[in-house]
Amino acid sequence: MEIPVPRIPLGDWIEVILDWLLATLGGFFTVIRNFLEDLYELLLWVLMTPEWWIITLVLAGLGWWLRSWQLALGTVIGFILIVGVNQWENAMSTLSLVTIATLIAVVIAIPLGILGAKSYTASKILRPIMDFMQTMPPMVYLIPALVIFRVGVVPGMVATVIFAMAPGVRFTELGIRGVDSEVVEAGKAFGSPPGKILRQIQLPLAMPTIMAGVNQVIMLSLSMVVIAGMVGAGGLGGEVVASLNRINAGLGFESGLAVVILAMYLDRLTSIQAKT
């Protein structure tokens, strides 16, 4: 027996919604697009203006200061390798994209995570949305992002933020919920207001977990660079896409290696295990 299911025109609805969004919020989207593009250009300018070795030393120094001299040494070797395969410019453009996408994702994710930790209702609403954002094939975001923000670095960045945000929210919620309830109770018992308890007690004690979330956000952002490259974000992702189109295994490997080096640097810089 066949049970007929009518064709649900979900796709059509999405198109209609998208058209409506463009018609009514077009100006707003232009503002966002310009803002993100300016931010990206600014950071890229900062990274590209000095000689490559100055940036390498600064990033290595940051690694030394936050973690260890081993990380600093690894950074220098890795970045020399990037320059050696002629990917410095692309790597800096990818670094800019990932940095800005991560910052935006974290700025949105941490307040959402706090909200989820404070209220069970918010947590229940957030959970399926996070599932959706993280498991929907990320290329699907690219299409509306392309329509709204046009070709360039911005649609890739927006798709990256959406895809990479979820662990930031989850780890923040987990971290705050995981703070010893008696310690929070002590704050309340001495008459501290909720905002102060959050700032003085919950956030500092949840910080290791939140940082693990930020680390995950960065890693997911990096995994998005190739997809962002498909819509003209350039950088290492653009290079990988180009090598795929030209079936150029050598170029593909060189740009892929540069992604790996960036990923390792950012991971070691932000992961909690590395802290002595």
């Binding site: 010893d180 008696e182 310690v183 002590a186 018992a189 001495f190 008459g191 501290s192 500092p204």
Partner: protein
């Protein structure tokens, strides 16, 4: 039938306990608790109403958990009021209704005449920071702060300027024996020392009421003993009103001016340690008292005899040595004196030099063995 009679008896004994306690506590109560219920569940108010109408804890089991049932008591200035009960008896919930960390479902909780249920969140916070401090079972120190920052926390919530609160915190840390540990972190301290920081945090706040939730339960027995004695000394010096929660009756007897014994969310008896020992309200309370260290609880007053009960031999023996003890001395303190006297010793009133009675070795030994009270006998007969 039997149960009803027992309840009646309990109520009578409670009434006796309260009336005999009225003499040292002439002031207004600092904390007033009246018919307080605390129910956990979907519709706590409805459950509380059912229980007020006579439903038992078991009747409402599947609608909610009744953690505190019809609690009524007053705590007077300068008193150590101990709430004693086994785990699950509702004592921790009861203490949390006193600063509204767990607001009472129904009933009145008043601190310094202010009804907690009628306060706005802001007023409630002000009341907590100015007038009620708390010491926690697992210390609840802030691990990312130094000890002095922890001790100064209560002052910070009161809005005291930084320099002043550090000065005060330094003093209080020194007073609890942690001089030199100001800039260490709690993780560098032993359990006993951590609780000293917890105590310092509460003491620094200078509040009239101090809530202590199983404050010494997580400590080793020796350290616990030490902390109990220190708390008593601190109390003698500062005269705070302390509400102390414990599951250890020995601790309750040693610290408490009055003790409330809780069972299954209800207060089974309120009385002085001596009343709880000598007139347990029911066999539940009596079963606790059987392993109490009586020497630490009973005082000279409760074991002395009037002069006319002394024998000729006693009088002759007393005339040789003529030693005396204060009426509030515990048996532990009296025994060495009696041993030295090799005969009766005199009991003087705690304040003046009035002679109020005498202690004989025989009465002393009698007091140390638990009496088979009528209640316990009754319970045995019923079984």
């Amino acid at each position: 039938m039997y149960k009803g009679r027992e309840e009646e008896l309990t109520r009578e004994l409670l009434a006796v306990g309260q009336s005999t306690m009225s003499e040292p506590n002439t002031g207004q109560p600092v904390v007033r608790v009246e018919n307080v219920y605390k129910i956990f569940g979907r519709r706590p108010k409805a459950v509380a109403e059912k229980m007020q109408a006579g439903a038992t804890r078991k009747d409402v089991e599947n609608q909610g958990t009744a953690a505190v049932i019809d609690a009524t008591f007053d705590v007077y200035p300068g008193e150590i009021f101990v709430v004693m009960g086994l785990s699950g008896s509702g004592k921790s919930t009861l203490i949390r209704t006193l600063n509204a960390l767990q607001p009472a479902t129904t009933g009145t909780v008043e601190v310094r005449g202010q009804d907690l249920a009628k306060l706005s969140p802001k007023e409630l916070r002000a009341l907590r920071s100015e007038h009620i401090s708390m010491v926690f079972q697992h210390f609840a120190l802030f691990p990312h702060w130094t000890n002095i920052e922890n001790a100064a926390y209560s002052l910070e919530t009161q809005g005291v300027a930084k320099q002043e609160r550090y000065e005060k915190a330094r003093e209080v840390l020194a007073a609890v024996g942690l001089k030199g540990w100001e800039d260490s972190y709690p993780s560098e301290l032993s359990g006993g020392m951590r609780q000293r920081v917890g105590l310092a945090r509460a003491l620094a706040a200078d509040t009239d009421v101090m809530l202590m939730d199983e404050a010494f339960s997580a400590l080793d027995p020796l350290i616990r003993r030490e902390m109990q004695e220190e708390l008593k000394q601190i109390q003698d010096r500062l005269g705070r009103t302390i509400i102390f929660i414990t599951h250890d009756l020995n601790e309750a007897m040693f610290l408490g001016d009055r003790i409330a014994v809780m069972k299954d969310g209800e207060i089974a008896q309120i009385g002085t340690p001596e009343q709880i020992l000598s007139e347990p309200a029911d066999d539940y309370v009596a079963s606790f008292t059987s392993d109490v260290d009586r020497a630490r609880v009973l005082t000279a007053e409760s074991v002395m005899v009037p002069e006319n009960e002394l024998t000729e031999e006693d009088r002759a023996s007393f005339a040789r040595k003529s030693l005396s003890v204060k009426s509030d001395a515990t048996i532990q303190q009296i025994v060495p004196v009696v041993l030295e006297a090799q005969g009766p010793v005199a009991v003087d009133s705690a304040t003046g030099s009035d002679r109020v009675g005498y202690i004989r070795l025989a009465t002393l030994l009698e007091a140390l063995t638990p009496q088979e009270s009528t209640v316990v006998d009754g319970a045995k007969a019923a079984n």
